[in-house]
């Protein structure tokens, strides 16, 4: 394989982004094709069937399940409120009747002749899908969702927690290698997407939570701090449902690591612009990375339609980042690509490349441990 590749994360100044906004179950779509939508507009809505309350009425009334049908005072499909008489046993010659008054509200969904079980279904739970990015609806999937296209600046992070958030961009760290500390976060950043530099500290996150920031974006985070914030040790990298307040996105990795210069520059250039952020990450089959989407005004237009990451090719001169200790976080350029596998410090043999670091040092690393920085 002469062209081993490593997928880098997308950092684009201007691209056409298409997002599919799909309901988990079928429902109704509120917008039309060609319509312009704002990020927080509700584009589709559905009613998830309510919770189920099974009641074993046959036992409660001391009747056989098969006879339960005759005891029911409500029909399947009837609305039942708390305290309503749901069923009454026949009793003996009309005496000694047992009654059952419902303890939960809902719609009577089923009466089982075999188990004597009655199922009440509670009120449906509404689910709303927002547009997420400001843009134009270009396609409608009836009852399911929409596709929205927008010209945006698009930045992928490596890892994030928390779900979708919206807010204007506010820069807290002026340089990418500045550690994001509590004092960088000002009260006026409330509701903003805060841009940090290198590692975000525990105190900074606490402050962001306190002022009610929409999101915090920085180069790295200490795992110990992440554990403190979440209250548990994150085991599997499937996130998006955490509820800590602001969504957190790290663009480079764990530990002390500066945000990539380009990413930081791009984010800073959009200070004050509205951004949509999603911290959901899934590092599994069906990989999902957290993202920052900054819709651009109409004057920008892009010919590229971006729906994902394209593979880069490793060749001398390409800018790469080392993504494994002991050189974690360093940036350099591919110098040579020896074709023969070489023995590493660990004793194992692997295909390697030599990298010229920014400080001029030349080091040998396995090809698996580098990442192309998208240009």
């Amino acid at each position: 394989m002469a062209h081993a590749y490593t997928p880098g994360l997308k950092v684009t100044e201007c691209t056409n982004l298409r997002v599919r906004r799909i309901l988990p179950i079928s429902g109704s779509v509120h917008v039309e094709k060609g319509q312009d939508v704002q990020a927080e507009d509700v584009v589709a809505e559905a009613q998830i069937p309510g919770n189920i309350f099974p009641i074993n009425l046959a036992n409660l009334l001391a009747t056989a399940p098969a006879e339960l049908q005759n005891c029911m005072k409500k029909e399947v499909g009837d609305r039942v409120e708390i305290g309503d008489l749901l069923a009454e046993s026949k009793g003996i010659f009309g005496f000694f009747k047992t009654q059952y008054h419902s303890k939960s509200a809902g719609v009577l969904e089923a009466v089982s002749k075999i188990t004597g079980q009655v199922i009440l279904r509670g009120a449906p739970i509404p689910v709303q899908v927002k547009a997420y990015v400001t843009g134009k609806v270009i396609d409608i999937m009836p009852e399911h969702g929409v596709v929205i296209e927008s010209t945006v600046a698009f930045i992928q992070g490596i890892f994030g927690i928390g779900s979708e958030a919206y807010g204007p961009i506010a820069v807290a760290c002026e340089t990418p290698d500045e550690i994001l500390r509590a004092e960088h976060i000002k009260p006026e950043m409330s509701g903003c997407v805060i841009i940090g530099g290198a590692r975000m500290t525990n105190e900074a996150i606490a402050k962001a939570v306190e002022i009610g920031a929409a999101a915090v974006i920085s180069g790295g985070i200490d795992d110990q701090d992440l554990k403190n914030i979440l209250g548990y040790d994150l085991g599997v990298a499937i996130t998006g449902t955490e509820n800590i307040g602001p969504s957190l996105i790290i663009t480079e990795g764990f530990g002390d690591i500066a945000m990539a210069e380009r990413t930081h520059r791009l984010l800073c250039s959009h200070t004050g612009h509205a951004a949509s952020v999603n911290g959901a990450t899934q590092i599994r089959a069906g990989v999902m990375r957290p993202e920052i989407v900054i819709p651009l005004d109409q004057t920008h237009s892009s010919d590229t339609i971006d729906e994902g990451v394209v593979e880069g090719i490793l060749e001398p001169g390409v800018t790469i980042r080392l993504i494994r200790d002991p050189y974690f976080g360093r940036i350099g350029q591919v110098a040579t690509l020896p074709s023969e596998p070489q023995v590493l410090g660990s004793g194992s043999k692997a295909r390697v490349l030599t990298v010229t670091c920014e400080n001029g040092e030349e080091i040998l690393v396995p090809r698996a441990n580098v990442e192309i920085i998208a240009d």
Binding site: N56, N59, A62
Partner: protein, 436 residues
């Protein structure tokens, strides 16, 4: 941890010092002063550490009688102790020497002979006379008491000190183990296969769509085995409630039926399924032993329960029930403390709780520190008894002169070993095994 041990030690030390103190007090009682010549005054003392029913009568003897009584072959008569409720009244003989029944003792220095008079009534006044009764001829009065004497009761019967010691050790170990259990140190209880099998048996019944049969023995609630059975019923019923299976409890006593219903209801409630409780499943059949058995066996053959539990007191019906259950292919778990019925259960059932296991079950199931502690404490008692029996046997087989020392040494070593073994097991075993 440390302080509580000290408390226990202090308590034991306190009780010991009280025992010693009262011993000193009880020893402080003195005999009456002397009487005029030839008829001497009897020295009468209350016997220490008794129930207040005996006195020690010490007869001062002249050299003549002393020698005569010491050399039993030369004795041509015997010493007779007479007793009366009033001085000079009708003295009835209460004891004599020879023969020596083990209570008589000579004192060479004082030239006295002491003996015990028992079966007295507490707080009554007694007068004694010691006379010489030759084989032929009249009685010679040797000594008498002129002052009335009463027997007194001490708070502790000295003869029972062995029991007290054992009692202390067992109670102490019970308290000790309860404390240990309360502190969360795991106490190991041997796995009781029969109880672990409850889930399996009830599961089988659930999968096969059949009911679970529970027979709590044929005795009434006054039998401890029935109570133990109902304890297990609560566990079985809770499992059944979780699995949503039916438990049928036919009883042969009305009171047991009521208790069984209460147990069932409690279990369904604690399993979070009060709606699944059906009181009709615990019902009364008949008090008649074989009428009951016939009814239960009949229902077994018809309903084919997939799991049968027999927990309680069983007699001749044990094999009938167990055999019927076996023939319908049910998983059967039995438990009884009736030794005569155990072999039948073992042969016909899948699992059997043997004797004590039936009672240990509730501690095993609940895992409560008090119950676990008492279970462990009782084990210590059993170990001591077993050690006693073994050392006793060894001592009895070995020559007399060594036996006392040997017994002592053996018992001491054995107890130390036993305690060390128990403690080492407690610390090395990782966890208490309790089901569910």
């Amino acid at each position: 941890m440390q302080t509580s041990f000290l408390h226990i030690l202090k308590a034991i030390a306190c009780s010991l010092s009280i025992v010693l103190l009262s011993a000193i007090i009880a020893n402080g009682q003195e005999a009456e002063p002397d009487q005029p010549a030839n008829v001497k005054e009897l020295i009468i003392k209350d016997r220490d550490w008794d129930n207040g029913d005996s006195l020690i009568v010490t007869v001062p003897l002249s050299d003549f009688y002393f020698k005569k009584l010491q050399d039993l072959e030369q004795a041509d008569g015997h010493l007779l102790i007479g007793m009366s409720e009033e001085y000079g009244g009708a003295y009835r003989p209460v004891s004599q020497f020879p023969p020596n029944d083990g209570t008589w003792e000579f004192d060479e220095e004082e030239k006295t002979l002491s003996g015990r008079v028992s079966s007295l009534t507490r707080h009554s006044h007694y007068y004694f006379r010691a006379s010489w009764e030759p084989e032929e001829g009249d009685l010679t009065l040797l000594a008498e008491s002129t002052e009335p004497m009463q027997s007194k009761r001490q708070w502790f019967i000295g003869e029972k000190r062995n029991l007290a010691f054992v009692g202390f050790v067992i109670c102490g170990s019970v308290i000790f183990f309860i404390e240990i259990a309360k502190r969360g140190r795991p106490l190991k209880v041997r796995k009781i296969a029969g109880l672990n099998a409850v889930d399996e048996a009830v599961g089988r019944a659930t999968e096969m769509g059949r009911s679970v049969l529970f027979v709590p023995g044929i005795q009434d609630l006054n039998d401890i085995q029935t109570i133990a059975g109902l304890n297990i019923l609560s566990h079985v019923a809770k499992t059944a409630a979780e699995f949503d299976a039916d438990v049928e409890v036919p009883t042969s006593r009305a009171l047991v039926m009521t208790a069984a219903r209460e147990t069932l209801q409690g279990s369904y409630l604690s399993a979070g399924r009060p709606d699944a409780y059906n009181p009709d499943l615990a019902y009364y059949v008949t008090d008649e032993q074989f009428g009951y058995v016939a009814a239960v066996s009949g229902s077994m053959v018809r309903e084919q329960p997939a799991a049968c539990f027999y927990m309680g007191a069983f007699y001749a019906e044990s094999l009938i029930l167990a055999e019927t259950g076996n023939s319908i292919g049910a998983i059967q778990v039995a438990g009884t403390a009736e030794p005569s019925q155990l072999p039948f259960f073992v042969a016909a059932c899948d699992y059997t709780l043997i004797g004590e296991e039936l009672f240990a079950a509730s501690a095993y199931l609940s895992g409560a520190p008090e119950e676990l502690g008492s279970l462990k404490g009782q084990d210590v008692g059993k170990i001591i008894v077993a050690i006693g029996i073994i050392t006793g046997c060894i001592a009895a087989t070995i020559d007399q002169p060594f036996s006392f020392v040997l017994t002592f040494v053996l018992i001491a070593t054995a107890i130390l070993l036993g305690v060390w073994w128990i403690l080492s097991r407690e610390t090395s075993q990782p966890s208490l095994h309790t089901p569910g």
